[in-house]
């Protein structure tokens, strides 16, 4: 089953905004093409064009060299094109099996769904990822009861159950842990060998170089480079994506001289913190320290940050500057000068339809009196947006008009306005383009030099190693290892993440 798909000079506008002005992509049987680009470069739009979710404004799609026009996702699916969506397309109140087979349920002669057969077929699909998720994930489990990584797996299985000729993986690895990514890549190799064509959309360079055969780089809606992966270096790819040459170097807190200010006073002390997923965490963070939190997805990192911020109930003791605190609501934590950048900016960090101003000021309105001093508020918001070099049409523009990286700047900016002592960051660079990432690294370094304490969870191991003085690795709700200095290596980090016990106390 040989197949080829070409997208030629694709144009797509949303209202007045041009998302794609000249998008190009070629993919053939038995190869993986990486679709690369910074946020807002048009990657997601490109995959939506291929799978028929959006209507093109210009250009041509050729399937097996014949022009095609998809009137709906259904039409694209009939042609053998399946997509693993970045924003999951699952119905949470339905079971795993119902979700995977939706619209293709096996039927009995009576027209009724053959659920037994459907469950068997689901079991067979789940076997592809067996061992990488918890055992109680069954075909009849409700999707609402799944963890994010498990949902992503279901999403992948849903796409592959179509037995597509062309498979689009749109940021499919973003919420998977390394074991699951490993399994996915094995499967991708198998699918490649079966003659499937695969489009791989990702921010992670390392993954692109591992799995892709060819690349296609988008920049500002234009395809600026295509070719074989083996002919290009990581640096060149980044350069293609970022226009101006901007090779970012991770800047370790005090660039070698002052390692984490060991003599600074302890800011935060956690003793035996226990929640639904945490099983007794103890740690200390000094003022001006940038403490990394590592580990596989969903090992309690999120709970740790949320508990510290007073969003979820916990047992154990938390001390701030020696004083025992017990927050029952985030606003109490905010009063003690804590700030949280949550893991899902769309669902937890932003008010999408409200203005940038409203988003910046949301935690701070109390400080502006009654009636609110709007001039002052605007001036303060403008100062922050300049400090973050936020690209926007104006403070009154809705956040929904911003690209991913810029939207994330708003999430961080709203806390800068309050000047907290301690930042809790839940994977803040997830789905953010390299330029913005580099800016964030600079900002974090700056903040820690100002004496702010930072707890920084990242799903990107390189980031932790490059940026942090000390990294704790969580596994199954416990601290598996504490890495610093010479022991802070990628090997140790990965080993500890997987629960292999060799990363000891340093």
């Amino acid at each position: 089953m040989s197949v080829s798909l070409s997208a030629r000079n694709i144009v797509k506008r949303y209202g007045g905004v041009v998302a794609l002005s000249d998008g190009n992509l070629d993919v053939h049987s038995g190869e993986v093409v990486a679709l690369i680009g910074a946020n807002g470069s048009g990657k997601s739009t490109m995959s939506k064009v291929i799978n028929g979710v959006v209507v093109l404004d210009g250009g041509q799609l050729l399937l097996d060299d014949k022009p095609v026009r998809f009137s709906s996702p259904q039409a694209a699916r009939k042609m053998g094109i399946a997509t693993v969506f970045q924003e999951l397309s699952l119905v949470s109140k339905m079971t795993v099996a119902d979700n995977i087979w939706l619209t293709r349920e096996p039927l009995k002669s009576s027209g009724m769904i053959d659920r037994k057969l459907m469950w068997e077929k689901t079991e067979a699909l789940l076997d592809l990822f067996s061992g990488t998720f918890k055992a109680d994930l069954k075909p009849a489990t409700l999707v609402s009861a799944l963890h994010p990584d498990e949902k992503q797996i279901v999403e992948i299985l849903k796409a592959i159950s179509l037995n597509p000729r062309i498979l689009i993986l749109d940021e499919a690895t973003a919420s998977l842990d390394s074991r699951q990514v490993e399994r996915l890549f094995e499967l991708v190799k198998r699918w490649k060998a079966e003659g499937k064509a695969i489009v791989f959309v990702s921010h992670r360079m390392e993954e692109i170089f591992r799995i892709a055969d060819r690349y296609s780089v988008l920049r500002n809606g234009k395809t600026v480079g295509q070719g074989d992966i083996k002919d290009i270096t990581e640096k060149d790819l980044i350069q293609l994506m970022t226009e101006k040459e901007k090779v970012f170097q991770f800047t370790k807190a005090a660039s070698g001289e002052d390692t984490s200010g060991l003599d600074h006073p302890i800011y935060l002390e956690v003793e035996n913190l226990t929640t639904e997923t945490l099983r007794g965490i103890s740690l200390k963070v000094r003022q001006g320290e940038l403490l990394g939190i590592g580990g596989l997805q969903g090992q309690g990192q999120r709970d740790l940050l949320l508990a510290l911020f007073g969003d979820i109930p916990y047992e154990g003791k938390i001390r701030i500057k020696g004083e025992v605190v017990r927050f029952k609501h985030p606003r109490q934590a905010m009063r003690k000068k804590l700030a949280l950048v949550p893991g899902d900016r769309a669902k937890e960090g932003l008010l999408y339809i409200r203005s940038i101003l409203d988003n910046f000021l949301l935690p701070s309105w109390q400080n502006y009196g009654f009636p609110l001093k709007m001039k002052l508020a605007k001036r303060d918001a403008l100062t922050i947006s300049e400090r973050l070099s936020l690209v926007m049409a104006g403070l009154m523009a809705p956040v929904s008009s911003l690209s991913g990286g810029n939207a994330q700047k708003v999430v961080i900016g709203k806390w800068l306005l309050r000047d907290p002592d301690c930042y809790l960051l839940d994977d803040p660079t997830k789905g953010v383009d390299v330029n913005t990432k580099a800016e964030f690294y600079g900002l974090l370094t700056e903040l820690s030099q100002q004496g702010k304490s930072i707890l920084f969870y990242s799903s990107d191991d390189d980031e932790l190693i490059g940026l942090c003085d000390r990294v704790i690795v969580l596994h199954d709700g416990k601290i598996r290892a504490e890495l610093q200095g010479a022991s802070l290596t990628k090997e140790n980090l990965i080993a500890a993440s997987m629960g292999v016990s060799n990363g000891g106390e340093a």
């Binding site: 939706l102 619209t103 039927l107 009724m112 769904i113 659920r115 109680d136 849903k158």
Partner: protein, 322 residues
């Protein structure tokens, strides 16, 4: 971590709470009215409940699909006025049959109008069906400005007094409705309904024909409202353009008491049917308990609020324990 949550339980047995409520109501009613299971009493109760049962079943389909239909009462009114004016007190059974079909057609058409605005023009269901409810009640008033007219007593009596095998006619109608629902539930359309109500965007991306599914829920609701209109006309024997108006909100209450969430995608039709019966029995209890007439509305409304609040209270207590 065990994943058999309350959510999942409510997902599998959405009518669970409604049935408990029904049993409690039945027991109280039985104490107050010991002959309630006698053939005649049972029949006279069930024939009163049936219109609301039909209405609630249709409303449940719309709500499952993530919408709401405020216009069902208006459709009941239209059907009632059509029958009362066109068949007349001296009409023949043939005429009745003809206008029953016309009524069903009117119900489907009214539902299709709702569906067109909501599914195809993407308007918000509450406000759209609120607007059409004005259209429909207005139209019913246009047909029959003042209460009057009706259908022949003989035809009404067929509805009132038919008890095959000694069981009320309503039982057979309920059985047919539930059987059809059980079949639909296990077809693809049933799955589509839950998918659209649960997450319309995801359903669309998965190639579920969302627009048509939404549209069809309103058509079904219009059809069921027409059936309810026919039933209530046979029950009352007379015409009144305002007859359906108070039924709309009751139908929604029945659906919610029946464990079908207004947010869509959770629940079923059996629960709302049970809910509608329960509401009827509560009314019975109140009339039999000989409370002061002035207090009736208050007591009834309070019972309904308590019934609506009960699952929430259980949830709250459950969460406190964990």
């Amino acid at each position: 971590m065990k994943r058999f949550s309350w959510d999942e339980m409510m997902n599998r047995y959405p009518a669970f709470f409604a049935i408990i409520l029904l049993v409690v109501a039945l027991i109280i009613n039985f104490i107050l009215q010991p002959n309630m299971f006698a053939r005649d009493t049972l029949n006279s109760n069930m024939r009163v409940f049936l219109p609301m049962i039909l209405l609630a079943a249709g409303q449940a389909i719309v709500i499952l699909g993530g919408g709401i239909d405020i216009s069902v009462g208006g459709i009941v009114s239209i059907v009632n006025t059509i029958l009362a004016t066109q068949v007349g007190l001296n009409g023949s059974p043939e005429k009745m049959w003809t206008f029953v079909l016309v009524s069903l057609g009117a119900g489907i058409l009214a539902g299709a109008i709702n569906g067109f605005f909501i599914a195809f023009l993407r308007l918000q269901p509450i406000i759209t069906t609120y607007a059409t409810s004005f259209l429909y009640v207005g139209f019913a008033l246009f047909i029959l400005p003042n209460p009057g007219g009706g259908i022949p007593a003989e035809i009404a009596n067929v509805y009132r007094n038919t008890t095959p095998l000694g069981l009320p006619l309503a039982f057979y109608v309920i059985a047919v409705v539930l059987l059809i629902w059980m079949y639909i539930r296990s077809t693809r359309f049933g799955n589509y309904l839950y998918a659209v109500g649960g997450n319309a965007e995801a359903a669309y991306e998965t190639a579920v024909p969302v627009t048509w599914v939404l549209f069809s829920t309103y058509v079904v609701s219009g059809f069921m409202a027409a059936l309810a209109g026919i039933a209530i006309t046979m029950l009352s024997g007379s015409g009144n353009a305002e007859i359906g108006v108070p039924m709309t909100l009751t139908s929604i209450t029945a659906v919610v008491i029946g464990g079908t969430a207004l947010s869509g995608g959770i629940g079923g039709v059996a629960g709302p049917v049970v809910g509608a019966i329960t509401l009827g029995i509560i009314q019975n209890i109140i009339s039999f308990s000989r409370i002061d007439t002035w207090w009736e509305t208050f007591v009834k409304a309070s019972i309904i609020v308590v019934a609506l609040a009960a699952p929430g209270v259980i949830n709250l207590l459950r969460r406190k324990k964990v």
